[in-house]
Symmetry: C2
Subunit: 107 residues, 2 copies
Amino acid sequence: MYGLIGKMLAVPGQRAALADILLEGLKEMPGCLSYIVAEDLTDADALWVTEVWETAELHQASLGLPAVQAAISKGRSLIAGFGERYETRPLGGHGLARRAESLIGGE
Amino acid sequence: MYGLIGKMLAVPGQRAALADILLEGLKEMPGCLSYIVAEDLTDADALWVTEVWETAELHQASLGLPAVQAAISKGRSLIAGFGERYETRPLGGHGLARRAESLIGGE
């Protein structure tokens, strides 16, 4: 599995709108086992996106999906910048979508 | 929802053993919607634990569960320290265990 933990900085006042775009764009991405959008509790403009993918390649491929491309276009102007970004190798846990479920959802 | 993103530093050579303890200790925690243990790709001793809970109170309560207490006892000597720690308010996403599922599992 491949994981990403990343901080995204919204244009002031646009964090909620940016979060909505991120959440609506992410349905049915092949290989996506977890994708969570969260507000930072100390910085009113910051979001954290934590992701788990079956492989780094499937994550990369998702960037070409129409729904994801649409979200990027829509959200781009609401992003002021990016903060920390950590790549990981998830070992397991609770709350990871079943692989069959994620692949079927993406067909 | 309440979220945590935290870096844990294992005693050198003990990361895999620590990860095992973290993963075995976490079954059936009431209110836990996601709990993922991952290796950092740049630091051979570092783990990232990302969690989503229904409430901060349920997360706090989990620390008193027998299985969690046992994991803490077992794992304590394998932990060299802690790194970054971010508290968040998760807004939603894919891969969050259904609430009913998490509560039933915890009974």
